[in-house]
Symmetry: C3
Subunit: 155 residues, 3 copies
């Protein structure tokens, strides 16, 4: 079992069955040493700050990250190939007066750092969105770093 | 004529005259093997799900992509220099209850895959926006991959 | 004193004391030759087009960039290590009918170009947001290019 998945188990978490993209795109795309990861919405729906609380949304962000990790594992074979987390973009479907987007997206950031340690620390942007696909509460996308390059130009 | 433009012609499409940026930025910027492409809004305006339909918005997304390709051709000289599409970000100006952003952005994704084949398959995020520049319906930006690097450090 | 800070002084501007991230993320993250910079909101709050004007928001965007540059200097030690600005993403908290996001984000783009010259010209996306962390008017994030790489795979 991979190191990352072992740590997930120690945290009492596991990868869900991988979902497939809902439209005409890839779950993730390799580009040299970078892995661009598609936006994935949370299974939890609703407007944060009205339909659901900040704490519920934080847990939904962790859940969306688990869905993303399951997709990446399916696509590239092994999460241990990811050596560093570079950038996280998080959109929070926000009630008009809700301004705690950073606390919500910590639900994903905290887990990335638990799994990848210091290399899991990342740049991040947490933004409010008026609406998201399927009425989801959260949407996350990422740029990660692979331990190898698929690009001949960079060898 | 370039291969990409030939395929465009086979699909009955053509590049429009290239627009110029509306403010103080570049149409696209080379960074090593990557090409960062500026956000471009659709010529079609309106809120999707109220002013215009999902199908109209999908066509608007295709139109915005054609405008982007025209700008890139003007800036880098030849679309065949682009070897792969890495990431597409799409914002859809959404009515409060509109949640079909992924179907709308397929208007751009479908064309990228028709033009670049398997290398045109990309990571993607489709998000709702409450408002966009000029009241446009759609905004797209991209990260693409060039067949060469402009960076001495990576040679 | 660094060249970039000298130019700042010539413009009558100076770096503010660096703020620390408000949640569990880094101010910026090195990835090969790239520097991914976290989203930073403006100190100025309010909805642009109702609470504050387009001109006030443009100045707020310049202020948010100064905060970002102070954070980067603290994190990487010297702004002269940045050789090029690749991509700027700007979110403008927009009143329902406000559509001048590009003019607002010029507040940051203009300064980047004054500081880095031709290499400061960048790709950019300026988008409307219904809400932002802390009710801020503006949020900016960036991808910059460093004059060296921290990645052994790219040597």
């Amino acid at each position: 079992m991979s190191k990352i998945e072992s740590r997930l188990g120690e945290l009492g978490l596991e990868l869900p069955p991988p979902k497939t993209p809902v439209a005409n795109y890839l779950g993730c795309k390799r580009s040299g040493n970078l892995l661009f990861v598609s936006g994935r919405v949370s299974r939890v729906c609703g407007e944060v700050g009205s339909d659901i609380s900040s704490a519920e949304a934080k847990l939904a962000a962790q859940g969306a990250l688990l869905d993303i990790l399951a997709i990446i594992k399916k696509d590239i074979g092994d999460l241990d190939q990811i050596v560093s987390i570079e950038k996280l973009q998080g959109f929070v479907r926000s009630a008009p007066t809700f301004t705690e987007q950073p606390l919500v997206i910590d639900g994903a950031s905290d887990l990335l750092i638990e799994l990848w340690g210091e290399n899991g620390r990342h740049a991040r942007t947490a933004t409010g969105a008026a609406q998201l696909p399927f009425g989801a509460a959260i949407q996350l996308d990422l740029v990660m770093r692979l331990g190898y390059s698929n690009d001949n130009n960079e060898e």
